[in-house]
Symmetry: D2
Subunit: 266 residues, 4 copies
């Protein structure tokens, strides 16, 4: 808030013949001069990325874009079939799936890495303690394990190698690797760093705040979902999925369990 008590914005302004975004002249300084990725960084962080930050943000956006017929893609195709006149609604429906179960673990990993980095007793000791706590509570360590990609998720070493190549400071990646060593040691077997875990470390390296990390996935998936809408229009699958669902999820009659009225109500 300014002295007047009114909120302010630092994002954009325009006059009759100019548009400014983050204090740059859109037409003179940005269009044709910066990539979409660099524009995203400038907008989210308020200053242009370094070369390393640009390369790594591109890598993350490319990594997260597309995973085939995921729940988000299925939701998007259902809405694209139902409301073909509103492409934006089909994308929005799919994006609503970027929640706690598939992407949200990125934030939990980022918080954990920040905790390790700040630990007074050192990263290694804190990593061992964190793994011990998760084992005791029978909880998975965020950023580790994958149902399919075993023993290793191929995206993770690639992202980590890229970050090293770019010479970023590496505190988040060092923390992730300390955690990985403690995980393998604590569980007595190798558990992969999954893509979400590696992404959390790389986004930490390029100064994306934890509270908008999920937003990077949202931007990337928006592009992926537009691709599914295009395929759905050319080679429709939604009606087939609908009919398959109606056939394979059987009607089973009312439940035999005692109803809530047996316990509650007058």
């Amino acid at each position: 808030m300014a002295a007047t008590g009114k909120p302010v914005t630092r994002i954009a302004r325009h006059t009759r013949d100019s548009i400014y975004v983050r204090d740059r002249n859109l037409v003179e300084d940005l269009i044709g001069k910066v990539s979409f990725t660099d524009m995203i960084y400038l907008h989210l962080i308020g200053q242009p990325p370094t070369r390393a930050q640009s390369v790594l943000l591109d890598a993350v956006l490319v990594t997260l874009m597309e995973h085939g017929l995921t729940p988000s893609a299925i939701a998007t195709r259902m809405i694209a079939m139902s409301s073909p006149e509103a492409l934006q609604a089909a994308v929005a429906a799919g994006l609503l799936g970027v929640g706690s179960q598939f992407i949200g673990t990125m934030e939990n990993t980022a918080l954990l890495l920040a905790d390790l980095i700040a630990a007074p007793g050192g990263v290694q000791a804190r990593a061992r303690a964190v793994v011990a706590e998760h084992r005791r509570d029978h909880k998975p360590v965020p950023g580790f394990g994958h149902p399919l990609h075993r023993p290793d998720d191929p995206r993770s070493p690639k992202l980590i190698a890229l970050a090293r190549d770019q010479g970023v400071p590496g505190r988040h990646i060092a923390a992730l690797e300390a955690l990985a060593a403690a995980v393998d040691d604590g569980y007595g077997r190798h558990i992969t760093i999954n893509a979400t875990g590696a992404v959390a470390a790389v986004l930490g390296e390029i100064a994306i705040p934890t509270e908008i990390m999920r937003g990077i996935a949202v931007i990337s998936r928006a592009a992926g979902l537009v691709g599914h809408i295009r395929e759905e229009r050319e080679h429709p699958a939604a009606r087939f999925i609908w009919e398959l669902t109606e056939r394979e999820v059987a009607y089973a009659g009312p439940s035999a369990r005692p109803g809530p009225n047996d316990k509650e109500g007058d």
Copy 2:
């Protein structure tokens, strides 16, 4: 559909240790090797962009990302305040505003340009006829006019100049310029090509199909809206807008107009 009658997908597949998107190995061929923009093009069109296509898609994505406190941004901020735990929902709410009133005219312009290009009597003659029809019906010509940016929207000449620099074939841009000449002539005064109109021509030049053009705006705006969420968290404005609205939109009591029951019902 394949011979079996089942639908197929050409988007992505994975094995235990590899992920393929559009038949490229994600880890070997894409991460760290292609930009987000090129990945978007590959995904939407099925093949990598040429250099010119890449430059122009970047330019369009940069152009459309951010316009300040638009209706979409206000919707996103309202939901970000109400459901801060679900960033994806705040983005989705704003994206639902990428509809007919502010972006949809892009598609109408694209259809008009396609109509001009295909006209048997030539682009100029068809442009004049189209302008005459719109004047007769008192309808605005899609892609022309702007409430603020007069006499010219600064984004349009920039995008058109970039496309020329890149040496794209130029049929869509030639059609847009023929239409612009016919508009100025028909209305007897200069009316600007607006950004949406120029974007439609440039996306036509780089072979983005009309039916997913709106999707390019959706992807770009997703990034813009994440930026608004970040600012809302650091410098909240949503509650102020809410209180302002409650104060400035007055309660006016019931309408005096005759109710529908005076005409209908028993």
Copy 3:
């Protein structure tokens, strides 16, 4: 707008100790005194329903609530699995499917009935002309035909009988029946009035404006989708549908069709 040029609202206001909706005291006059259905009518139309209007609005809301594993329900379940912490997002995703393909025909039917009612030459003559136009253009008549419920959609005669029982004026229903007679005659066989068609006539009878008819379906489906979320939590089906989709929609490799670059670009 009031004389000041500022917009006004007639919906609700509150003081420190009272809340008014549509000029009624919420606590004194509405809670415990009116049904949800009557409150919906009051809010949408600005005055309480007659008994007949209340009965028929209930009937429509009950009719539209639930249709099993529809595209909307599948979208809702996908998002409920992905973001279980945001129930509202799962409902929103499904509601986005209340678009042109499954519910929007209600509005087209309503517009057609209004056209018949206003026809100077009488309802019957206009009905025959409308059917002839649709046959000539090979377009289905909105409100007629159903892929499964043949020869008759059981909901339609029920809704029409209820409206008659309630003694509503019947101009919309009379128009629908004239249209049904013209359809059967024009196509030379019986084509059912579908539920959407009957709903359009009944909502017309109770003075719901065409431009918010779709909203009645949205309200009703919201309730249906909450039911799907509850079942999904107790007896999950979403992951099964996802795995089924991944297995049954096969990867087919890149398309052999000539790419857009063969025609466009440099």
Copy 4:
């Protein structure tokens, strides 16, 4: 899952000439015979409500429908202006605001009441302990306090009185009242039970599971938001709110704070 391992549904099924919802024949047993509210209860709970359950669900749905120009309503109006062709998208945008900040406290209250009811040492003792814990942690007790309605939210005593009139068992209401006494005692002043707190107790009385309580608010608000869309079409306010926001939320130039690159990056 059934013995086959496939998931089942108990919601709806249909044949060529019949539709069944929750094992009732839609046309024979439900349309024209049950209210929308009773249909909602049947669908969510799997059996029809008692008279008391029906009366109280109506009361809650009427209570929550409409609160004027709330953040949800503003979001809905922004999208209604931007995408007037997609009414469902405008409703969905507003519903995304039914999250943790304004409605989610209902669930926290419900969990707290369940905790009190199950406390081995009795409701009163547990209530005092809970209040002491919240005071110690400087956290508000869920379901208590209101920024405007002081000393009392008028909706709460009304809902509680209605529940008593209907003779429901009253364990949730008794727990809420024990908590209210402990709150006033612990803080040394009267703090109102807010509407969300009272709703949580009443929904507990009528056997709505905590995990779908938010869904009751979603259904009710869907109706409220359709009302805002209708008013927006007849008496537009969205553009005024947009212009007001652009004028009152000032552009403030780039932040002077040290950027993240001063701490991170290469």
